[in-house]
Symmetry: C2
Subunit: 228 residues, 2 copies
């Protein structure tokens, strides 16, 4: 499950790899297996009603392992949440990269990214692997992460940011996107606005459960608020 990509600039050692790397080669398989069981249990609990407020005891019980093992592989609950966050960002970026590749024009790829990621960030969506994605629960942890440890947050978001920035760059080269703002800034604003847009309905108090409003959101982002 943990695959290393020997890509050029992406040599960021993820938390999961670090946890696994605590054991050496022969025992590495067992260690990976145990770490995976903790991560799976964490994802299941994140999908629950309590969000990220689960107990380490729950993780331990659900993983069928012991507290002793947990603290051997993770420095604490924070490290587990960080590993879950990185893992989720990583698989989300992979999924989006595949979906985006279906589009021909750069603008369409950009729109596809925003729409699909918007849907992922709405609570109650499932991935293609039928595993429920607790994006909204992890968004809360992500926000906490951004305020308390900005550098780690930036590092965790890198896969998504890199992908989106490349899409923005291509769309700009196609002449479809404004170029008076650096593409990295554009990517940051887009990602943030998309990720937290699920809260817009809650803020305004309107349910709007009929459609998810992904296309409407894209229209607002792409064409702006100004009257046509």
């Amino acid at each position: 499950m943990a695959m290393d990509q020997p890509g050029p600039a992406d040599a960021a050692a993820s938390r999961r790899d670090l946890a696994v790397a605590r054991s050496l080669d022969p025992a590495r398989v067992r260690a990976e297996k145990r770490v995976k069981r903790f991560l799976d249990a964490g994802f299941e609990l994140l999908a629950g009603p309590s969000g990220s407020d689960f107990t380490v005891q729950e993780v331990v019980e659900r993983s069928g392992q012991s507290l002793r093992s947990f603290y051997q592989y993770f420095d604490g609950k924070y490290e587990l949440l960080l590993a879950l966050f990185e893992e989720l960002v990583r698989v989300t970026a992979e999924q989006l990269e595949q979906q985006v590749a279906e589009e021909q024009r750069a603008v369409d790829r950009l729109q596809r990214f925003v729409v699909e990621y918007h849907r992922l960030c709405r609570p109650g969506t499932k991935t293609r692997s039928a595993r429920r994605v607790p994006t909204s629960a992890l968004a809360q942890f992500g926000q906490q992460l951004m305020t308390t440890h900005p550098e780690e947050a930036s590092r965790a978001f890198r896969p998504l940011v890199s992908l989106l920035e490349e899409l923005v760059r291509q769309a700009a080269a196609e002449g479809a996107v404004r170029t008076d703002v650096p593409s990295i800034r554009l990517a940051g604003v887009l990602l943030q606005a998309t990720m937290f847009n699920a809260f817009a309905g809650t803020i305004s108090g309107s349910p709007g459960a009929a459609d998810d409003g992904a296309e409407e959101f894209w229209s607002l982002i792409f064409e702006g608020v100004r009257a046509g």
Copy 2:
């Protein structure tokens, strides 16, 4: 503690609506004073490095009162945070309403709202009353609130939403803002995007501490991402 509002529209019964009960019981004055001391202590602690992770003990000590009194006026730490959140939204809405009134055209009022609220939501800003506003700390609680208690969150945000929705309506009547999206939805998206835009820099990993990027953000929101 919970009073119903017989008023027409603006009578949102806030958690701290003990105010203006001036000529009533003298005991009420004392109670108000004590509540205010707890709230002030809470605001000071929110401005600290720990954010909303402060201890009720700290609140009690800083307010110079007792634990016994705290639990007489608040059902728990959650209720205190909720009261702080509502209070902050209330005074922010009042402040923005005054600033917005300085502009003549409806579009300028809308821009002024977005730019000023954007600045408020950046960490490290101060209000005109020289009291530090822990908006970023409370944004985290606000997000948690939106996921766990959407109705209470919606109610707490009402002052800001009502003001912004009115500004959008006026700008739409002026023909400056698109009308194919209900103004309440537009207000929700605008408020959310503005409030969390401070995280865009953290996500993209770019410091960007030179300017706060409020005008750039407004440009992106107003004119969109599409190439001119």
